[in-house]
């Protein structure tokens, strides 16, 4: 087992990895940018090293700085989390060259899966179903011809794309040329690579992904699926496991296909094979994420397997601790990503100081938080402050438990999307499992107005009482300037209001 692991990340995933290490008796090394000196992951780690200015391009993304700290701190392995350097083959390679274990797949697997066109070809070779589409396309004529052959609607996709960038839906021939220019320029500016290809657009698609684990001894297993159809701007918002999109036959088949996909690149570590599923439960390979996924906790809740620990054990060369037949789904788990954003104002980001934080507890509730009361959520990183998961014996129980947990979850000082989650979880289409990736744009028209007389009364009563006490306090301090302030009720609240907009 490793002696000391460096976590090349921040926020909740850094805390998640630190917890796994602690449970394995491994020391942890945190790295932090100037904006993160007071961040939670720095507190939780045994060791902590500064790595530069707030922008991640000058800190968390700088391979040399991470490796320097690894060497200084005596770390024998690096866990990259997700995002940042987690899917950069050069980083994986640089780790090996520095004699430090990269907790993740080999650079070759990252490279193969990182290039969409290569991945597609490998998958076709391995008989993994892919969305009908093309190889890399050349000039405009070739693009138009390919689109007509596949049949509109089609998706134009950047070959180096990912995370929702460099994609465009083209509904009819007339739109093709401007879409082509758009994708190429976005691909060039975002990835430095303007190659693109094309896929058939799957209508009412659902996003279902399969978790896999592979060890260094050639064993690869899957841990069933997660459904991530609830997305906004291609960012997942709510995930669940199992999926309501597929029946048990398709589920088993999809698991087998995911294992085949991973085998095709001799995959080692934790990875996720993403599929598009259509209304007939046909599924098509979309891409493979060669890292731990944000939404991994719901798989842990349903299968009972600690995926981050599995990653670490695999990286030490241990064979998988669990075999395929022992992997069983039990119950249902849902994850709501708690974002610092305002669902009432087009999801504008809402960084700032968390003045009040009360997290839910009790049975079946899991909170993976990256923040604490009193911390100022910085503007430099993504707005996810926590992942709230609910587990239940049935999907209905998981939904009801999540609603209960959301009700207990109090965050003040910044605005969060908690009210959005409540809206989504009570939407008839969500309740019935009738989802697709267009759900939010189709259904969300802002938060419902709740005209509630009782609610208004409580708000008014609370404000009036606070005002009354403020006045009383003022009156007393005037009449007895030497009076101890401790004798006065402290109804008057200060400070928190500073952070309220």
């Amino acid at each position: 087992m490793f002696k000391r692991v460096l976590i090349a990340n921040r926020g909740e995933i850094a805390v998640r990895v630190i917890r796994a290490c602690r449970e394995l008796g491994i020391e942890t090394v945190a790295v932090y940018s100037d904006a993160d000196r007071s961040a939670l992951h720095v507190q939780y780690a045994d060791h902590a090293y500064p790595i530069g200015p707030a922008p991640s391009s000058e800190s968390y993304l700088v391979i040399e700085k991470i490796l320097d700290v690894a060497q200084q701190s005596g770390a024998d392995a690096i866990h990259p989390g997700y995002g940042f350097l987690s899917e950069r083959a050069p980083f994986s390679r640089a780790c090996s060259e520095a004699g430090i274990t990269f907790i993740g797949p080999q650079p070759e697997a990252i490279e193969k899966m990182g290039d969409k066109v290569t991945a597609r070809a490998i998958m076709q070779e391995a008989n993994v179903p892919v969305v009908p589409g093309t190889d890399v396309l050349g000039d405009e004529n070739e693009v138009i011809a390919a689109a007509e052959k596949i049949g509109f609607p089609v998706m134009f996709k950047a070959s180096a794309g990912g995370g929702g960038k460099g994609m465009r839906l083209v509904e009819k021939k007339e739109d093709a040329l401007s879409a082509l220019r758009g994708v190429r320029s976005e691909a060039q500016s975002s990835f430095g690579d303007d190659r693109m290809y094309m896929e058939k657009f799957v209508e009412k698609p659902r996003h279902v992904e399969v978790q896999v684990l592979g060890d260094m001894h050639g064993n690869i297993i899957h841990l069933y699926e997660r459904e991530c159809s609830l997305q906004r701007r291609h960012q997942k918002v709510i995930e669940e496991s199992p999926s309501t999109a597929i029946n048990q036959d398709v589920r088993e088949q999809m698991g087998k296909v995911a294992v085949e996909a991973a085998k095709a690149v001799n995959y080692v570590g934790a990875g996720t094979v993403e599929f598009l599923v259509d209304a007939q439960q046909n599924f098509y390979f979309l891409e493979m994420n060669t890292r731990i996924q944000v939404e991994h906790p719901i798989t842990e809740l349903v299968t009972g397997v600690d995926l981050v620990k599995a990653q670490i054990e695999i990286a030490t060369g241990e064979p998988l601790a669990i075999q395929q037949p022992a992997v069983q789904q039990r119950g249902w788990a849902i994850e709501c990503r708690i974002y610092a954003e305002d669902p009432a104002r087009d999801f504008f980001p809402s960084p700032g100081k968390i003045q009040i934080l009360r997290t839910p507890g009790g049975y079946g509730v899991r909170d993976d938080s990256g923040v604490y009361e009193g911390w100022e959520v910085p503007i430099h990183y993504d707005p996810m402050i926590s992942k709230l998961c609910a587990y239940g014996r049935t999907r209905d129980e998981a939904i009801q438990r999540m609603l209960r947990a959301l009700q207990e979850y109090t965050v003040e000082g910044i605005i969060t999307n908690i009210p959005f989650h409540r809206w989504a979880l009570t939407h008839p289409r969500f309740v019935s499992g009738d989802l697709d990736t267009g759900f939010i744009p189709q259904e969300y028209r802002g938060l419902p107005e709740e005209e509630d007389h009782l609610r208004h009364e409580i708000i008014l009563v609370a404000a009036a009482l606070a005002a009354y006490h403020k006045d009383k306090e003022l009156a007393q301090s005037v009449s007895s300037p030497q009076g101890s302030p401790g004798n006065v009720s402290a109804w008057r609240a200060t400070g928190w209001r500073e952070g309220v907009r």
């Binding site: 610092a340 954003e341 305002d342 104002r345 087009d346 504008f348 980001p349 809402s350 960084p351 700032g352 003045q355 009040i356 503007i379 430099h380 990183y381 993504d382 707005p383 959301l406 009700q407 979850y409 109090t410 003040e412 605005i415 908690i418 009210p419 409540r422 009782l454 609610r455 208004h456 009364e457 409580i458 708000i459 008014l460 009563v461 609370a462 404000a463 009036a464 009482l465 606070a466 005002a467 009354y468 403020k470 006045d471 009720s489 402290a490 109804w491 008057r492 609240a493 200060t494 400070g495 928190w496 209001r497 500073e498 309220v500 907009r501």
Partner: protein
């Protein structure tokens, strides 16, 4: 004590009478409530009103109270009656506010979409601010002409900072 309170677009007359320790009679527009109110800690208060239990967070600044209840925040302006007669804060912000485009969050100016002298429509995007890895377009609340641009691309801005003035 008697107050004028503003919540949303409604104004209420409220009086507070202390009956006993933690016990209050509160009259909202002639509707009477007997309240058991306790400060639990910091900003957290427990109210029991006719045997219904409520937990709220309250914060105050300049006669504006923020009351957070069940995951939503409400702004309540509370003025005692004398101040209210004089016309205190919370009356209104005047129409001027709408002609000022302010940042809705701390962040960095990515791009200015207009310059001084440009005509803008209502809801037209005028500036892009980046925060938390997201680019956010800020729009004009009213139609008009750009009078002044107070920031430049690349600059960091605070929440509420004046970005662009229209006229």
């Amino acid at each position: 004590m008697a107050y004028k309170a503003t919540l949303g677009d409604q104004t209420y007359t409220i009086s507070v009478h202390e009956l006993d320790e933690h016990q209050y009679k509160i009259v909202i527009d002639a509707e009477e409530h007997i309240i058991d109110g306790r400060q639990l800690t910091g900003h957290m208060y427990s109210l029991i009103v006719e045997n219904k239990s409520f937990t709220v967070d309250v914060a105050e600044k300049d006669d504006e109270y923020t009351v957070a209840y069940e995951g939503k925040s409400f702004q309540v302006g509370v003025l005692d009656e004398r101040k209210a007669r004089r016309g205190g804060a919370g009356a209104d912000l005047g129409g001027a506010g709408e002609k000022e485009v302010c940042s809705m969050m701390p962040g960095k100016v990515v791009e200015l979409l207009v310059q001084a002298g440009d005509a803008v429509e209502k809801d037209q995007g005028v500036i892009i601010i980046e925060a938390m890895k997201m680019e956010n377009e800020i729009r004009a609340a009213v139609a008009g002409t750009v009078k002044a641009v107070h920031v430049e691309a690349g600059q960091a801005v605070e929440s509420g900072e004046l970005l662009i003035e229209l006229e």
